[in-house]
């Protein structure tokens, strides 16, 4: 609820700013009709090669990583964590409210959720996939160059290369997929395919198949916020394409940096502890 309200509020403010800017002679005229209603009327500063400058460290501020759909607060899945591990509620980031699962897929989602401590790839420090990497509760850094745009995630050191120049089909399936990008006005549009079927969308068991196709739009909405949208297609799992959207916020601390979160060592006991040598029995 919070984030949705915030979008509206900020969009309204940005729109107002756009109107006042429109009085300046060079300001762009009407927004293209295809833009969503919440599209910000904001022109981002440019990089040296003339593109909207998305460089920076960004982070989502919502509970989508717990569940992209609307959900109430709930106790921690791990009793010993008490309130520190409890699930904060969220109004959801799925446009239209719910994900259009095919019937069989919905069953699998529910099984995933019931067994999430065993099955969620995040528990094992596996690569997060897309779009989950974007809204996990860790920052990510965009390093923007003409041919390649890097998205460098703190979680598990996950890396995505967006190919802006040489664009090819995904040469192999992977966790983070294969991303080709293009500029559409103020927006960076990223088309990602070539996923394996192993990543999830959140801790609630929302999942996809290897037919996943994600189209994302990163659109600057103010100096320190981006509007993020992702359209999800996967005919093996969903009856129709669906969309999520949320703002992303710049980490404005002057000393902000992506820290190492090399979580493999944090999950070794969990994954391999049962294979440790036992003291010789007498």
């Amino acid at each position: 609820m919070q984030s949705r309200l915030l979008i509206t509020t900020i969009a309204a403010v940005s729109l107002a700013a756009g109107v006042s800017m429109a009085q300046a002679p060079q300001a762009p005229a009407a927004r293209p009709a295809t833009r969503p209603a919440a599209a910000p009327a904001y022109r981002a500063p440019r990089t040296a090669d003339g593109k909207p400058n998305l460089n920076g460290i960004w982070q989502a501020m919502n509970t989508a990583n717990w569940d992209i759909e609307a959900h109430s607060a709930a106790p921690s899945p791990v009793r010993d964590l008490g309130a520190t591990g409890a699930i904060p509620g969220g109004i959801g980031v799925v446009e239209g409210g719910s994900i259009p699962y095919l019937p069989e897929a919905l069953k699998k989602k529910q099984e995933n959720q019931a067994n999430r401590l065993k099955l969620d790839p995040e528990v094992k420090c596996y690569l997060p996939g897309v779009p989950r990497a974007v809204y996990m509760p860790y920052p990510f850094q965009i390093i923007q160059s003409t041919k390649h745009i890097m998205m460098l995630h703190e979680y598990a050191g996950a890396v995505r290369t967006i190919y802006m120049a040489e664009q090819v089909e995904a040469p192999a399936d992977s966790w983070m997929g294969w991303s080709n990008g293009k500029w559409d006005g103020e927006s960076l549009v990223v088309d990602t395919k070539g996923f394996n079927d192993l990543s999830w969308f959140d801790r609630a068991g929302n999942f996809h198949s290897d037919a996943l196709h994600v189209i994302e739009r990163f659109t600057p909405r103010s100096a320190d916020t981006l509007n993020y949208e992702a359209t999800i297609e996967d005919p093996k799992t969903f009856s129709k394409p669906w969309k999520i959207s949320m703002p992303l916020y710049r980490r404005v601390e002057p000393n902000a940096q992506i820290m190492e979160f090399r979580c493999v060592e944090f999950v070794e006991d969990l994954m391999y502890g049962h294979l440790r040598k036992q003291p010789a029995s007498k």
């Binding site: 990089t47 850094q141 160059s145 890097m150 190919y163 493999v264 440790r276 040598k277």
Partner: protein, 349 residues
């Protein structure tokens, strides 16, 4: 596995004959021993070469590079000079390549583990950097890591004792090598090291940052070049914390704040690594590093390891996600434990 295979297949890039074909004029020069020399080709062009610039005016280091090489870090026994002649260098490469190829000997452990005739494992099948150097280390001039201090020797002994106390290598995942556990591999550094196969890197420059992606375990170093202060000493990381700056056309990166869990050549967590990247040709970056760690070595030491251009792109190396080896190895070791226990029981009766 499908992924791995593809990685290798796609790595079928141009086998660049970098510059080994040193012109006779270069070969004929008596190499001044005091001065480190780069790849033969780059020696001839380095002085005149003006590196391309990024749109915002930085020297452009971007692209896909490899530091694969047969030149050892330390000078081999019996070699006393700093540079081979081109003919000697070819002989040394052939000797090393033949040694590598021996690993395809049918029935050997190495052959069972990895088929070295498969593309990408045998360095000679791919792009690799050639240099006339007999060792990557050029300072000290004998090409060897300096004598370890007493403090350093004491630390090495303590680490060895800790390892011994922790039990056998297959008693616990924590006793296994960092690379096998998919935590990080040698190539990432810093300093960047020739890590054998898949020694591939991608450099991307954005406003205020240089990013170096190491193919092995998708390890990305994000190096700020905006003059920010050194990090607080309480922050300790596997790859340390890096700060960069431009000195002319050279990117200088200083890294401190290591966590000591993966000591480079038995160094301490207080090691400082200074790297220098200079684009010296369209297809070559001169890469030098200095390791300074007074608690380990009596003096700082330096090496040079060329980066040569290779074809991209770099593929996802999802190591941990497919690391069935750890579970299988440990499960095998526990089976052995059971068998050993079963054998002991009857005899103890």
């Amino acid at each position: 596995m499908r992924h791995r295979t593809l990685v290798y297949a796609c790595a079928v890039s141009i086998v660049i004959a970098i510059a080994m074909a040193a012109t006779s004029s270069v070969a004929g020069q008596s190499a001044p021993l005091e001065k480190p020399r780069a790849v033969a080709k780059t020696v001839t062009v380095a002085k005149a070469y003006a590196p391309p610039k990024t749109p915002d005016g930085q020297p452009d280091l971007q692209g896909f590079w490899t530091n694969s090489t047969y030149v050892p870090l330390e000078r081999p026994q019996g070699v006393t000079k700093e540079y081979y002649t081109p003919e000697e260098a070819e002989v040394a490469i052939k000797r090393a390549a033949d040694r590598e190829a021996e690993q395809t000997e049918p029935g050997t452990t190495a052959d069972v583990h990895y088929d070295f005739s498969q593309f990408g494992l045998d360095r000679s099948q791919s792009t690799f950097a050639k240099t006339l150097r007999t060792s990557l280390i050029y300072d000290p001039p004998d090409g060897k890591i300096p004598q370890m201090t007493q403090e350093g020797q004491k630390r090495v002994a303590e680490r060895a004792a800790l390892r011994k106390a922790a039990g056998g290598q297959y008693d616990d995942v924590k006793n296994m090598p960092i690379g096998s556990r998919c935590i990080m591999m040698g190539g990432a550094g810093p300093p960047l090291q020739n890590a054998g196969y898949n020694a591939n890197y991608q450099i991307v420059q954005g406003a205020g940052y240089v990013m170096i992606l190491t193919e092995m375990i998708h390890d990305a170093r994000i190096i700020p070049i905006d003059g920010r202060p050194a990090p607080p000493s309480g922050v300790r990381q596997w790859t340390g914390v890096s700060r960069g700056r431009w000195e002319g056309n050279t990117l200088v990166v200083e890294t401190t704040n290591f966590n000591g869990k993966n000591p480079f050549r038995n160094g301490s967590e207080n090691m400082k690594v200074t790297e220098r990247f200079t684009r010296v040709a369209d297809d070559a970056i001169e890469y030098k590093f200095t390791v300074d760690d007074p608690s380990t070595w009596s003096k700082a030491w330096s090496a040079e390891l060329p980066l040569v251009k290779t074809d991209g792109p770099i593929f996802e190396f999802a190591c941990h996600e497919s690391n069935h080896g750890i579970a299988n190895i440990l499960a095998g070791a526990r089976e052995d434990d059971k068998k050993a226990a079963a054998q002991r029981k009857p005899s103890s009766n």
